[in-house]
Amino acid sequence: MRLVIGEDQAPMREGLRLVLERAGFEIAATAADASELRRRVRAIGPDLVIADIRMPPGNADDGLRAVLELRAQRPELPVLVLSQHVQRQYAVELLETGGRGVGYVLKQRVADVDAFVASVRRVHAGATILDPVVVAAVMDRPRPDGDALNTLTPRQREVLALMAEGRSNAAIAQRLTITEKAVVRHASHIYDALGIAPSASDHRRVLAAVRYLLA
């Protein structure tokens, strides 16, 4: 798998390279600012892009904007966005480019190397991964009284949160020490409550639930 890394801070950039090369990925290029990232990705056509949100030249959300542009041109390009700080709005914008192969996590997650490498592989495989901090924030967000989310049981909320983090049913079952069947049952309750119609793929339904959460 060939990756391009966009990260302006050298220690973080080299740390990522180290972790990912050890895990067997090929780092095709690194970029220290957003415009370089665009150029490299267009020239190389990697299998996945990892990018920091805040980058030169503007030192604002330049990295995110580059990623959104690249996704607009190539919607199937898997992207994993890293940041010191997570924001609901950024997750919304990333999911608007299509729900497959999108990850948005805190930089510090790289420290848990195995989990991070697994996340990279899952994003590459088309999963949607959101940092637990974003998920917790949107779960706790103030909602009007009649909101469907308020009708969920605590257990269903737990399941929904783990789904939004991008975990598989098996992982959720293991985490909550329940059976996979129970997870599926909870999930269908959640879809009903949120008014999500049955569809061909589970992934679409998860995505719909996540979008509901983020909206």
Binding site: R54, Q89, Q108, A111
Partner: protein
């Protein structure tokens, strides 16, 4: 007391003159004229204590009383009289050059007046030291006395000429209204001076000269104080004589200028006078140090107050001693002279105060950040270092580090919210709203493009302060926040449905006001008790 003393002295003098074999009636003119001086001088002094004019006239009366002692027959009193015989002439020069305040404002006047006193006191000495048979005589040398007299006459003439030149110059520079007063006064004063033959001392008058001549001279001198006091109340001198000092003060450069209220107190002659400034927002009156001062009660007969207005707007007030200054018009007039300076001073005062508060707020913030770093992150890292030195599990260490990173992220976010830096005002306020316990109404208009960082930060911190206040006091429900960019201004409006009655002097509100003011914006807070609170900030932003 001074008046009683003068009357007594004049009475005694009169009695002594009457007691011996009938003395010429002219001798009685001395105490009589002295009384005229003392009376007019005291009247002027009382009316305007700051002016030295009255005091000077009273002193002139004293000189005349001393000069008249010669008529009482005692040789020693005659000696005192001889020493002070011509002193009144120097006082008249002083009065002329010091008109209308009795003070000498330039070096040339001071030199001329000093020379006049020298002529009347020092150059007078040969006349009694060398006069035959005088009490103070040290030698019987009429020739030397004659030489001394000629010298005194010559120098005296020069002094009078110099004074005349200075007065002429002043008349030329005066306004027409003042000139109408100054010309007759000066002419009269000069004639009174010249009416005394320089050659004759008071005591000699009725030896050689005729009694009528002496009487005319004394009457001419006697009318001098009346002329001065009358002139001082005409031609604009009454109103602006003291105010001239104020104008001079206003022209002085900033560093050498004493405080405005001190200048005003000196000009009006009321040391208890206080100048108060009206704050740009509100009716409160503050003194120069920024402390609030209550208005004297309207029935307070001892303390008076007049408002200082500039273009119809009240900018301050003068509180004065109503017993000392019984004419409020005079105080009001002085207020008009200084209104512009008062306005500037109060704006400077409020600017200075706001600058100090901004600095203090910044320092508080730094202290808070330092404390948070020290108490939280630093101690956590020290603990992790110790843990790493023992046989801690890597997973344990990593968990500790992640907590430290979370802590740091929160700290950085508190200092300058990430969404504000990355996305600007609308994103930052949206993010803030996401973290509140219940939903709020948030309207955002015209903020698609970024604003200047200072404007974004200013608008954000006003919004967050108002939102946090509202949530604290009123709960978030019913909270409405609107951010709009209209006509080169960004408008932040936060309305809650709480109890209202917010403390407008709280440090949070002050901080908001200062921040908005620093950006040339305006902050309005409607907080009628029971009716909720509405905070509106309008900040200019180049569009």
């Amino acid at each position: 007391m001074l008046a009683a003393g003068a009357v007594w002295a004049a009475g005694v003098e009169t009695a002594f003159i009457l007691a011996p074999p009938p003395a010429p009636w002219v001798a009685l003119l001395f105490p009589a004229i002295a009384l005229v001086y003392v009376a007019t001088g005291l009247a002027a002094w009382l009316r305007r204590p700051s002016s030295a004019l009255g005091a000077l006239i009273v002193a002139g009366g004293g000189c005349l009383l001393l000069g008249g002692l010669a008529n009482m027959g005692s040789p020693w009193l005659g000696a005192v009289s001889a020493v002070t015989a011509t002193l009144i002439l120097a006082v008249i020069v002083h009065l002329l050059l010091g008109f209308p305040t009795g003070r000498l404002h330039d070096a040339a006047s001071r030199r001329v007046v000093a020379a006049a006193y020298a002529v009347c006191l020092v150059l007078e000495t040969p006349r009694y030291l060398f006069a035959p048979g005088a009490t103070l005589s040290i030698a019987d040398r009429p020739d030397l006395a004659q030489v001394g007299l000629q010298v005194q006459r010559g120098v005296g003439a020069c002094v009078v000429a110099a004074a005349a030149w200075l007065l002429a110059r002043r008349i030329r520079a005066a306004s027409p209204a003042r000139r109408r007063v100054l010309v007759p006064l000066t002419v009269y004063g000069m004639l009174a001076l010249l009416a005394i033959p320089v050659s004759s001392a008071m005591a000699d008058l009725w030896g050689g000269a005729t009694l009528t001549q002496a009487a005319v001279q004394l009457v001419a001198i006697g009318l001098v104080p009346v002329a001065f006091v009358a002139a001082a109340s005409r031609g604009g001198f009454a109103r602006t004589a003291d105010l001239a000092e104020l104008s001079a003060w206003l022209g002085a450069d900033e560093a050498r200028r004493p405080a405005l209220d001190a200048a005003l107190a000196a000009a009006l002659g009321d040391p208890s006078l206080r100048l108060l400034f009206r704050l740009p927002d509100g009716d409160a009156l503050i003194d120069a140090r920024g402390a609030e001062v209550a208005r004297p009660a309207s029935d307070d007969r001892r303390r008076g107050i007049v408002d200082v207005e500039l273009a119809g707007e009240p900018v301050g007030a003068i509180v004065y001693d109503a017993v000392l200054l019984d004419r409020p018009d005079e105080v009001r007039e002085a207020g008009r002279v200084v209104a512009l300076a008062v306005d500037r001073e109060r704006l400077t005062a409020s600017l200075r105060a706001s600058r100090a508060r901004i600095l203090a707020a910044a320092d508080d913030e730094r202290r808070r950040i330092a404390r948070d770093l020290h108490d939280g992150l630093q101690s956590r890292l020290v603990f992790l270092a110790i843990q790493a030195g023992t046989d801690a599990e890597p997973a344990e260490l990593r968990a500790g580090l992640e907590t430290a990173i979370d802590e740091l992220r929160e700290l950085v976010d508190g200092v300058m919210p990430t969404p504000l830096t990355e996305r600007g005002l609308a994103a930052a306020v949206t993010d803030l709203a996401d973290r509140l316990p219940s939903p709020i109404t948030l309207q955002i208009q015209g903020l698609e493009s970024r604003l200047a960082p200072a404007v974004e930060a200013g608008a954000y911190f006003v919004a967050s302060e108002a939102i946090v206040n509202a949530v604290k006091h009123a709960g978030a429900s019913g909270l409405a926040v609107a951010l709009r960019r209209v006509d080169g201004h960004v408008r932040v409006e936060v309305v809650d449905a709480g109890r209202g009655g917010v403390d407008l002097d709280g440090s949070g509100i002050r901080g908001m006001t200062d921040r908005v003011a620093a950006l040339d914006g305006t902050l309005t807070i409607d907080a009628a008790a029971g009716g909720g609170t509405r905070v509106v900030a309008v900040i200019p932003c180049a569009s």
